[in-house]
Amino acid sequence: MTTGLWQHWVLPGIWITIQLTLYSAALATVVAFAVGAARTHRSRFVRFLAGFYTEVFRGTSALVLMFWMFFVLPPLAGWQLVPMWAAVLALGLSYGAYGAEVVRGALNAVAPAQREAGVALSFTPWQRMRLIMLPQAVPEMIPPFSNLLIELLKGTALVSLLGVGDVSFAAYLVRLATLESAQIYTISLVIYFVLAFVLTRGMRALERKAKAGIGQTPPKKILITQKLGLRQQTEMSRDWSSTGGAA
């Protein structure tokens, strides 16, 4: 592979993948907190709407959603999104729905007495959420969010099918240019793996910081697969973070 291919396709591709991951993660976080909190709302109607949102966006495939936004939304809305933003929107909305389940689970896991104490002290619902529930729930959310972030990183590969120039798209072009596939696809798999590794290290640091804030330490890793593993162990029976895969 020549340096020209690296400079013009692979390196910009890595940057696009990172950008896509960060923007969609930001959107997904906003969606997750908004929808997740709405699922614990008093009003049955708000809960229903939030539940409907999560079921629809978790139910459909991210790739189908991406195509839908790319092909169907323009005639429907009268304007067209740049492929990059269509992708961010599709990824953010669908992973936001998975994240909403994480947020809901973590909020429900806060001891009920904490909420009742807030009521007894006549906090407003917003104050209760901000000052009592979230500070205790957020550290619990970080391990499943970390897993979701990797799923999201893997999901960004889908945008290459819309023609956005990310790592997978670069790999495709390099394959066409060099007529050799083993090398470039191995390299791009390694790139994704390294990115995933960096992301998990970042999330682990964040988890330590968040847990220290409420006087806890993250559990020690014992098993060999956990030592190697990038994924955080979450409780299996209610696997909030199982998106499963790219989508």
């Binding site: 079921e55 629809v56 978790r58 139910g59 459909t60 495939s61 991210a62 790739l63 189908v64 959603l65 195509f67 839908w68 092909f71 169907v72 005639p75 429907l76 990797i150 990183l153 893997k154 999901g155 960004t156 590969a157 889908l158 290459s160 099918l161 790592v167 997978s168 790999a171 495709y172 394959r175 596939s181 083993a182 696809y185 191995t186 791009s188 798999l189 994704y192 793996f193 995933a196 590794f197 060999i224 697969t225 190697l228 593993g229 990038l230 994924r231 162990q233 299996m236 029976s237 696997d239 199982s242 998106t243 499963g244 895969g245 790219a246 989508a247």
Partner: protein, 216 residues
């Protein structure tokens, strides 16, 4: 923007073909992932370190890299090594391999949840290794893992559209071809999007019911 029912009707024959291909990929992919995942999970517990470490590394690598790139890898690289598969077979193998690394974690958790006393009892009765696994440990692990495995089947369903990238005629590819030939993308794509919800939502309700029964 107007909805054209005749376009939906025109799409139906291709749609059902797509549904069949999708379900075929799903069923075969699930079978591969269930068996291969079990192999990985047993290998995690192998006494020899030189088995545990490579298996751990390989599964982590597969689990943390995109299925799409793996699909291309298998589709373009295997023929270079002289292994020819059809696109559908490649897709099924890719999905099965990718998800086997997820199911392996599910099995692992299920196996770890079997009380240590069961292992000790098997040793005390001097059961051979194979019987310990298949007559004592796995039957107890299975009821714990069924709901989680089911979740991954639903995830696999939602990943089958990726197979369109190597030209498998599953639902999404059928919709795209239909759109390309009639210039009406709205109806086919919407039908396919709804089809996923229609399959996935009842399936997840079913799983929740199953989970309540099995895991107490």
């Amino acid at each position: 923007m107007n909805w054209d029912w005749s376009a939906v009707a025109d799409f139906m024959p291709a749609f059902w073909d797509g549904v069949l291909t999708t379900l075929q990929a799903l069923v075969l992919g699930s079978l591969i992932s269930f068996t291969l995942g079990l192999v990985w999970a047993i290998a995690f517990r192998a006494p020899a370190r030189f088995i545990r470490w490579p298996v751990g590394l390989i599964t982590e690598f597969i689990r943390n890299t995109p299925l799409l790139v793996q699909l291309f890898f298998l589709f373009f690289v295997l023929p270079e090594w002289g292994i020819q598969f059809s696109a559908l077979t490649t897709g099924i193998v890719a999905i099965g391999l990718h998800y086997s690394t997820y199911t392996a974690q599910v099995y692992r958790a299920g196996i770890e949840a079997v009380p240590a006393g069961q292992w000790e009892a098997a040793t005390a009765l001097s059961l051979p290794g194979r019987r310990t696994w298949f007559a004592v440990i796995l039957p107890q692990a299975f009821r714990r893992v069924v709901p989680a495995l089911g979740n991954y089947v639903i995830s696999m369903l939602k990943d089958t559209p990726l197979l369109m990238s190597i030209g498998v005629l599953e639902m999404l590819q059928q919709a795209r071809l239909q759109g390309a030939s009639t210039f009406q993308y709205t109806e086919p794509l919407t039908v396919v999007g709804l089809a996923f919800i229609v399959i996935a939502y009842p399936a997840s309700l079913l799983l929740r019911a199953l989970e309540r029964r099995l895991v107490r």
